[in-house]
Amino acid sequence: MTVKICSAAEAISVVKDNDHVASHMWGLCGTPGHLYRALAATNVKNLTLYIENFLPGPPGTVEWGFPDPTMLLSHLKKIVTPYLGGRAYSRTGMQADFLGDLIKSGKLETEATTHGVFMERLHAGAMGLGGFYSPIGIGTIIATGKETRVIDGKEYIFETPIRPDVGLIKAAKADKLGNLVYHGSARAANPVIAMASKMNIVEVDEIVEPGELDPECIVTPGIYVDYLVKIPEGDIAGAKNLKELVKLAVALVNK
């Protein structure tokens, strides 16, 4: 399929009620904030969100307007994540039990996992597996309700693949074929999500001609990319603004 280069609103319109959506989130870094805002502006309901960390951005970023996954809450039926940020809420002055109330009232389902198991479940989705026996979390809350099996004298937990309908991806740069490069540890889970998802929408700071990216350094080949969105100049989620935001953030975060 040819990559479609379009606006965030147009790309995000392919997300349907009840879809399973995956995205990376690690503070400001590798988080597709431009796409979060576009998704938050839709009327899509009952999404299941697979995400690394579900919490607001680091101190200060909420006030500064950097989009974070908590703005998607009203669109979500379920969150699957290794890290659900109740405490971060209170830190930024939001109601500390906001998530807890949603969960206790049954309006929001959650499923706990670990970062490593989460990555492997996405990988299993990418490879078409039926499931795998994982060594992580034996005897812990992660194992609750799951099948276990002893293999060669060791106990394992049966974990299932994740194959999201849509991946929301943040990359630094793309060529017009959709080949992606990332920047630093903003790479993170983005390439893993891109390979696992049935369809991918990618936000980038720059789009270049094919051949401009070093073929040895392309991380996500364009075959995985369906929609490509260039973050508009001046957008808070763009690289230039992030760079400014970071200068302010250091005093708060790196203390």
């Binding site: 590798g30 680091p58 807890g100 670990t114 990555m119 990988h123 979390g137 790479r187 690289a239 760079k243």
Partner: protein, 221 residues
């Protein structure tokens, strides 16, 4: 009350377990404080996909802060020669490879080296596990840095965990604010104590059975 070591001193003691050529991952809290005092040639890995990065950015070199260069605690770091970036599937293969030393915080460690990192008291419905279970399971060596007792003065070295398990039989060394304790097949062994502390005083703060090493000594810092 006798004086206990502060968090920075505990971190510095932990750092002495690392030598040139070692790879390590530093958990949130006290372990993160190790970063500022690492010996030359020790490489730090972060779960979100980087290894071998440089010191954290400070307000003095804030112009070096790069939104793409954050560690697992979302702090901004500086680049260093020989560092590399990779995706988080690779990162967790690395974490489980037995090639990293993992320095973690802890709420409790049991006599058999079981580790509890997370409380469920606040986040009853949604534990914040992150990568801790992977880090505790897959490391070449797990070093836990934590206070010897909790805020209520209760021992954190216990017969068996009362907090939820992170990983069983995973801890190799415990560095507290009063002692250094090795986890062996024969239980916990006191190797070092803080200046001014006696073995009996440490035992009185410890619920777990605690043997004493033949060459037990005062902690060198």
């Amino acid at each position: 009350m006798k004086e206990r070591l502060d968090e920075l001193v505990m971190a510095m003691r932990a750092v002495r377990e690392l030598k040139h050529g070692d790879y390590c991952n530093l958990g949130l809290g006290i372990p993160q404080m190790c970063a500022a005092n690492l010996p030359e040639g020790v490489h730090v890995q972060a779960e979100n996909g980087v290894i071998g990065y440089g010191p954290l950015v400070t307000t003095d070199n804030v112009e070096q802060a790069d939104p793409g260069l954050i560690d697992a605690g979302a702090k901004f770091y500086t680049p260093a020669p020989g560092m590399s970036f990779f995706d988080m599937l690779t990162s967790f293969a690395m974490i489980r490879s037995g090639r990293l030393i993992s320095i973690l915080g802890g709420l409790q460690v049991s006599e058999t080296g079981d580790l509890a990192i997370h409380s469920l008291s606040y986040n009853d419905e949604y534990p914040q596990i992150g990568g801790s279970m992977d880090l505790a399971w897959g490391a070449k060596r797990v070093i836990v840095t934590m206070t010897h007792t909790n805020k209520e003065g209760k021992p954190k070295l216990v017969k068996s965990l009362t907090y939820p398990l992170t990983a069983a039989k995973c801890v190799n060394l415990i560095i507290t604010d009063v002692a250094v304790i090795e986890v062996t097949d024969h239980g916990l062994i006191l190797k070092e104590f803080a200046p001014g502390w006696s073995v009996d005083e440490i035992r009185s703060l410890t619920e777990a059975r605690l043997s004493v090493s033949d060459d037990v000594k005062v902690m060198e810092l």
